[in-house]
Amino acid sequence: MIIFKNVSKRYADGFVALNNIDLAVEAGEMIFLTGHSGAGKSTLLKLIAAIERPTSGTITISGQNIAQLKLSAIPFLRRKIGFIFQDHKLLFDRNVFDNVSLPLQISNFDNKTSASRVRAALDKVGLLKKEKAMPITLSGGEQQRLCIARAIVHRPNILIADEPTGNLDVEYAREIMALFNSFNQVGVTIMISTHDGSLLEDTQHRILVLNQGKLAA
């Protein structure tokens, strides 16, 4: 489903974030990406949603080459992906409901369909009772779940989560992981980056280790 071939990313200042990455993710697979901070985890995930463009190499998603994608085609790629950002990227000037409905607004959903989908997503992450709340009043765990609701509301095939348990207690982190597992069970392809080794101890899923821009075997 997602295939990286000889992908490198060098920033304008000369820093090489990714060096000759080869990687294949099967449809319906759940995969963990781990490594020290600065190892290139975020960069790798951002390349998939064309938030960053590779310096060289090809990235194909469902047969489409992302590296060559025209700027005008990028929005439609991103609509197929749910992205959970490391820094949340919530809008603090609007309530929980409006934050989650943003992806649907962007895709021109009508209000009725939109509302029922937003509530379904909020229900899934356990925030249905907080739909009128402002994000600033939510706890860290709740904010993270809000991000997840926004990432799944448009029912993407691919879910990407960049450090989703970054600064959460173990208890909350396990809840979040359980959520991802439930999405994976209904067939969503999931990539999760984390530097938190304790989450990976008892997982059945594939774990990739990034070290200074290279994939360790």
């Binding site: 005008s72 990227k89 992806p103």
Partner: protein, 303 residues
Amino acid sequence: MIRAWIAQHAFVLLLTLKRLISTPMTSLLSIIVMGIALSLPTGVYILMKNIESATGQAINLPQMSLFLKHNPTPQDLSGIRQRLEEEPHIIRFQFVSKEAALFQLQQNNGLPEITAHLSQNPLPDAFILHTQANSSESLEQLRQAMQEWPEVEQVQFDSVWIERLNELLKLGRFIVLMLAILLSSAIIAIMFNTIRLQILTQQDEIEISKLIGATDSFIRRPFLYFGALQGFVSGVAAWIFIAFFIERLNEELIGLARLYQTDIHLQYLSIDDSLSLLFFSAWLGWLGARLSVANHLWKIEPR
């Protein structure tokens, strides 16, 4: 899908109106500045148009005066009439007897005292000719030909002042054009900056929307609406400024008109001109907004 699309646009229009009203002082000041910028070229234009329509006939149909020798016989006059009718360059003509000319002089120029002291009428009989020709040479030939007629004392072009006026009007049109170009650029610049400030306050929303799949046109839409709306309202403001200016000017002109014993008053903007003004001002606002958003979107494109 189409209903959702219409609902989207209606939603954005509403949002834009709210934004315009939510910062009343800023909006008002921008609208006044833009309205003034628009009203300058439009105001000069409407003044020019008034001058042109007041002198319009004279410009289209150059005039000549055919002054006759003293005391022409009725046969002389009918002979002249016949020859004038045969002349292709003369569209219409009009006989002004010396009595009529004297009467007009007394009426128009407010010189009854002077004319009262004249023992006899010093004015000649005359024909006023309205001509039309492609070139001034053919008119000059006509003038020379008529000068040879035995009953004719003198043939005079009245077109010297018309040519001067024409040149002045040409200059005026040039000034209108220059003003329009300069001040349109100013409006685009004002709109560019207004939208730039709005973008700064909504940077997060724009960035996040883009990250989760918003197209550029989705992001542009509210700003374009805002630009067009503010441009349109500025056009309305300019229209009001000009209407007010013309009304004041007409009040002033009443005094002048009384002195000249004629009816002088300025026309307001026609419906066509008003619509053009509103459409053009909305377009300028839209353009300024469009450039501003394009500039910002280009900066945040992934590389």
